[in-house]
């Protein structure tokens, strides 16, 4: 059978930002779905978003309410969301209460009532909320299974995309006849971790298409449910081949150490202890790009954008003009209770908004601290996903990370994330001749050669300035407590 002969399943927009990407492009038309989860997890809101996105006066949505939340109160609350369009009621979206039928009759009576309403309205979407209150009534599992199958068959025949909403616990997932019949199963979870609420959704099952596996963070805002795909919506985008272009810092000696700059699309880690000039280096990297017309993003966590720009101005770097010109966005991210995926989505949105080529994350420690405690466990994994996604579309990322200064070790990061980075620049203090001086070294460059020199530098009114010559009269410089060699003092040309 050729591809042309196969039935094409239309994918319906979910109306939930981010969810289409997670379910593989939209929910299959005429599918029979269950939205399950604990009370308050956002099931009804999600269903409403789907309904408002898909209902029309020609093919309306029937929203059956059963025992549970009163439809009046439900509408009272739901109309607070921005997606709620009162003009769609009642022509395109019709609410029908089945409480009396459920209380007085059995499941056959419920099915009869639904059948009657569906035949009358010819709906494109049918929602039963909450289905769980209805299925507590049957005398045996066989009754329930039969009811579900008949309902699913009937609604599919009427070409309706259906949602049953129910409060279910995790342990009810196994051996449940309802879940067997369903084409799609969306599970919403809500847990409390320390002082934070963590909401995640999972596509447990979705017939006929490739959904993104795993748990995805979601949030309920005044716009309704917003989901954050673990792939950040970038799976469908073609990865750019590694670029031959080199991106400079605008620090001639450092650029030379990097063999002309970092390869475009690399992830660079700048590691060093407090005060070594990581942020200054990052600012110079951004300023150099902006001066060459490359849009850029700076994500800051430890100081406000105004202060960041002012500090740059003191170094002679103008971050104000490119911000006004829409070439630079300084994102200030101190969102308590935000998930790492939401924070990263903010960065992604900014990157995509201005077509950024360079991104600075200053710093990873600040980023982690800005997250709610419950999400910190996922930090490294999420960071990996974001770096992979962004570098894949050609964005060059520079992250700063603070490391504890040790005189016995030479750590690159407390996060064990050096494997995420193509290039590592290490900055540190050294004690020389009774002074606390600074040195930097390029530890790694995946894309090519780099200088092995340990170079002394200073932070001046022009930013990071690498001092002229490589120090050769000291040994064990990276320990921070170098030993003066017995050789006579001499300076060598950089390698």
């Amino acid at each position: 059978m050729s591809t042309q002969d196969k039935v094409q399943i239309k994918k319906l927009p979910t109306g939930v930002p981010g969810l289409d990407e997670i379910v593989g492009g939209g929910l299959p038309e005429f599918s029979f779905n269950i939205i399950a989860g604990a009370p308050g997890s956002g099931k009804t809101t999600l269903a409403h978003q789907f309904v408002f996105a898909n209902a029309s006066s020609e093919r309306p949505a029937l929203y059956f309410t059963v025992l549970g939340e009163s439809a009046i109160k439900m509408l009272r609350y739901q109309q607070q969301y921005t997606f709620f369009d009162p003009s769609k009621l009642p022509d395109s979206i019709r609410f029908i209460n089945l409480s009396q039928v459920v209380l007085e009759g059995d499941l056959s009576a419920v099915l009869d009532q639904i059948t009657k309403e569906v035949e009358k309205a010819n709906p494109a979407v049918v929602v039963v909320d909450s289905f769980r209150t209805m299925v507590r009534k049957p005398k045996s599992d066989m009754d329930l299974q039969s009811f579900i199958q008949r309902l699913a068959l009937f609604l599919a025949s009427w070409q309706a995309t259906t949602f049953l909403i129910g409060e279910y616990a995790e342990e009810e997932l196994r051996d449940n006849p309802i879940f067997t019949v369903a084409d799609g199963l969306l599970w919403l979870r809500q847990t409390t971790e320390r002082n934070s609420i963590v909401r995640k959704l999972q596509i447990v099952k979705l017939r006929g298409q490739d959904s993104v596996p795993g748990l995805h963070t979601f949030r309920i805002t005044d716009a309704g449910v917003q989901a954050f795909s673990r792939t950040f919506g970038l799976t469908a985008r073609k990865r750019n081949p590694p670029g031959a272009r080199r991106l400079c810092f605008g620090i001639p000696e450092l650029d030379k150490m990097l063999d002309g700059g970092v390869p475009e699309g690399d992830s660079i880690l700048v590691a060093g202890s407090s005060g070594t000039g990581k942020s200054v280096l990052a600012t110079q990297f951004i300023a150099d790009g902006v001066s060459k017309g490359e849009p850029a993003i700076i994500a800051v966590f430890e100081e406000r954008p105004e202060a960041y720009a002012l500090r740059a101005a003191n170094l002679g770097l103008d971050l104000e003009t490119p911000q006004k010109d829409g070439k630079l966005i300084i994102l200030y991210l101190r969102p308590l209770d935000l998930s790492v995926d939401e924070t990263m989505q903010s960065i992604l949105d900014a990157v995509q908004k201005i077509g950024a080529k360079r991104l600075v994350i200053d710093s990873l420690a600040g980023f982690e601290m800005a997250l709610s405690p419950g999400f910190r466990a996922d930090f490294r994994e999420s960071l990996y996903r974001m770096i992979f996604a962004l570098t894949g579309i050609g964005v060059t990322i520079l992250s700063t990370v603070e490391v504890d200064e040790s005189f016995t070790e030479f750590p690159f990061s407390t996060y064990s994330i050096s494997f995420l980075c193509d290039d590592i620049i290490r900055m540190r203090y050294v004690s020389i001749d009774g002074q606390l001086r600074k040195v930097m070294v390029v530890i790694k460059m995946r894309g090519g050669n780099h200088a092995k020199d340990i170079r002394e530098y200073e932070i001046t009114s022009k930013g990071v300035v690498i001092l002229g010559k490589r120090l050769t009269e000291y040994q064990a410089l990276i320990s921070g407590i170098p030993v003066h060699s017995d050789r006579p003092d001499r300076m060598e040309e950089p390698a």
Partner: protein, 151 residues
């Protein structure tokens, strides 16, 4: 607190429309009952009988404080109204109200109270859409007395 002038105008509008649709010999209470029944069916369909019954009971309680002529009226199970047509007109205790809503206008007050509650819960946009669907031919936009009352 009395039902707002706006909801009373709206209620009056609906009653007038309902009365005009019915035979002229029917008593005024029949129009009130007709409006109430249509609201009951419309609201019960999407909110359920129990929800409507609760709203109706509350509306009647409020209306009785304004219009003692409604003293014998009751909301039965399922939200239906009992004795509205049997009530003898009585003088309102509030003279100002009595002048504005003379005896026999208890029906208007009851409907106004019910509309007021629906408005509180659903907001103006949804309430008006609900009414327009229930009374497709009624010119509800012209009911505001501030724009000139239509009778």
């Amino acid at each position: 607190m009395a039902a707002s002038l706006k909801t009373r105008d709206l209620a009056r509008c609906l009653l007038n429309y309902e009365a005009a649709s019915a035979t002229s010999t029917e008593p005024k209470e029949s129009a009130a009952l007709g409006v109430y029944e249509k609201l009951r069916q419309s609201l019960s369909a999407f909110a359920g009988e129990a929800a409507f019954e609760s709203l109706a009971f509350r509306a009647l309680t409020q209306a009785k404080s304004e219009a003692p002529s409604l003293w014998a009226v009751q909301v039965t199970e399922g939200g239906s109204l009992q004795n509205l047509g049997d009530v003898e007109p009585q003088s309102d205790t509030d003279q100002g109200l009595a002048a504005k809503f003379p005896a026999g206008d208890g029906g208007i007050i009851l409907i106004a109270r019910l509309l007021g509650l629906v408005h509180i819960f659903l907001g103006e946009a949804l309430t008006m859409r609900l009414l327009r669907v229930t009374w497709p031919g009624a010119a509800l936009d012209d009911c505001n007395s501030e724009n000139g009352r239509k009778t």
